[in-house]
Amino acid sequence: MNVFAEAFAWLFDPANWEGPDGIGARLAFHVVFSLAVVAGATIVALPIGVLIGHTGRGREPAVVVSGALRALPTLGLLTILALAMGLSVLAPYLALVVLAIPSVLAGAYAGVGGVSRTTVDAARAMGMTEGQIVLRVEAPLGLPTVIGGIRSAVLQVVATATLAAYIGGGGLGTYLFSGLKTGNYPMVLGVSMLIIALALVLDGAFALTQRLVVPEGVRVRRGTARLRSRPSRPRAAMG
C-alpha cells in the first residue's frame, strides 16, 4: 500500500493544486471541456434521435452508424484529427464530439421511440399535434432514457478526454503522460484515482437525475422495483 500512500500524499499536497498548471486548473478544464463536448454532441444528435424515435424511421441506419462509430478506435480518431488539424484544442474537441454522438443518439431514439404506442395514439386521438405529442408526451416519458444516453456520453468523454492529452488536449491526462515519461508513478497513480473519482461522481449525479425526472404518474408503488426501473432502460423500450 506504500505506493498509494505516496500517491495520496502527492494528490493532497496543496502546492500541486495551485497555479495554471495545478490540479485545480486542470481538473476544471477537464470538466468544462467534457461538458462542452457533450453539449456539442447533444445539439447535433438529440434532434435527430428524437425525430427517429418519433417517426420510427431510420432506426436501422442509426444503429449501424452508431455501432460503426463505436467500433472506431478512439486513439486512432484522435491522432488522425490531430495530424489533420494541428495541435490545437479543436482536434480533440471534434474527435470527442464524434465519439459522444452515438450514445446521445441511441438514448434519444430509444427513449422517444420506447414510449408506449398506445399512449401516443391516445394523445393523437385527443387532438394533440405532432409537436405537442413530442414535447408533452414523448419527451417527459422518454426523458430518463434520453438522460441515460447523455450519461453514457459523459462517461465516454471524460475517459477519452484523458487520452486526448496525448495529442495536446490538456486536462488531467497531461499529468499521466508526463508522469509516464518521467517515471513519477505516485503522481500517475494519484491523478488516475482522481479521474476515476471524477467519473464515478459524474455517473452518480446523472444516475440521480435519471431517477428524479421519472414523471410522477409513471412512478410505480414500492415493491415493484422491476417495473419502476424499466423506463430508464432502452432494452425495455425495444422489447
Binding site: 467500433a71 486513439l75 488516475s192 426501473s229
Partner: protein
C-alpha cells in the same frame, strides 16, 4: 498507400500481437461472466448488487484503470498482462448483464420439466439452461468482441505493442496512412472475430438464430450498462 505496401510485414506482425492481446480477455470475460450472470439470475438478491458493481466498473476510464491496476495487484505497468486484465474487467462488466438476461429468458416450464425428469442441478445447467441461453450469450459476446478489439489499441500509450502502435508511431512521424491502416486493420479484426463468433454460434446452436427481440446495437448495450 505506398506506406502500407512497404510496411505490410510490420502490420501483419502487429495484427498477430493485437489478436494475442484481445482474444484472451474476450475468452476470460465470457468464462467469468457466465457463472456470475447465472448467479445474478438465480439469486435475485444478488442481481442488484452484481449489476451495480458491473456498472461502476464500466464507468471507470480505461487509461486511469490501466495505470492503477499495477499498484493494486502488482502486474507490471508496461505488460500485456496488465492490458489483458483491464480488458477482461471491461468485458465482464459488459457481459454479466446480458448473461443474467439470457438465463432469465429461459422458459420456466422447460426448466421445471427438466427438473421433473430428474435432471440434477448441474445437468440442468449444462444440458438445458446453457444451450437455451446460448443465443443471448452470443449476442453479448459479440459486443464484447467489438469493444475489446477497439479498446486494445490504447495499449500503445502505455508502451505495450498492438495495432495502436501504428497510431502513436504515425502521429509522432506525421504519417496519416500509418494511422489509417491501423484503424482499418483494427476494424477488420473486429469484423472477422465477430463473424467467427457468429459462425461458432451456428455450429454449436444449429437450432437457433440470434433472438430478434433481444438484438441490440453495441451502443444500446452500453446504455443498458449505465442506465440500470
Amino acid at each position: 498507400m505506398n506506406w502500407v505496401w512497404s510496411n505490410l510485414d510490420r502490420i501483419g506482425e502487429l495484427v498477430v500481437v493485437h489478436l494475442a492481446l484481445s482474444v484472451p480477455p474476450v475468452i476470460l470475460a465470457f468464462v467469468i461472466s457466465v457463472p456470475i450472470g447465472w448467479a445474478a439470475w438465480r439469486f435475485r438478491w444478488s442481481r442488484g448488487l452484481l449489476l451495480s458493481v458491473c456498472g461502476i466498473l464500466y464507468a471507470i476510464p480505461s487509461l486511469p484503470l490501466l495505470l492503477t491496476l499495477p499498484g493494486l495487484v502488482g502486474v507490471p505497468l508496461r505488460s500485456p498482462a496488465n492490458m489483458i486484465l483491464a480488458l477482461a474487467l471491461y468485458g465482464v462488466a459488459l457481459m454479466v448483464r446480458t448473461a443474467a438476461d439470457a438465463f432469465g429468458d429461459v422458459d420456466g416450464d422447460v426448466r421445471l420439466a427438466s427438473t421433473a425428469m430428474g435432471f440434477s442441478a448441474w445437468r440442468r445447467f449444462t444440458g438445458v439452461e446453457l444451450p437455451l441461453a446460448g443465443p443471448g450469450l452470443l449476442a453479448g459476446l459479440r459486443v464484447v468482441i467489438v469493444s475489446t478489439v477497439s479498446l486494445a489499441t490504447i495499449s500503445a500509450v502505455i508502451g505495450v505493442q498492438s495495432l495502436g502502435s501504428l497510431f502513436t508511431d504515425g502521429f509522432q512521424r506525421n504519417i496519416p496512412a500509418e494511422i489509417w491502416s491501423g484503424v482499418i486493420a483494427t476494424m477488420l479484426i473486429a469484423v472477422a472475430l465477430d463473424a467467427l463468433a457468429v459462425l461458432g454460434g451456428r455450429l454449436l446452436m444449429p437450432w437457433a438464430r440470434a433472438p430478434r427481440r433481444r438484438r441490440r446495437g453495441i451502443v444500446e448495450q452500453e446504455l443498458a450498462e449505465v442506465g440500470a
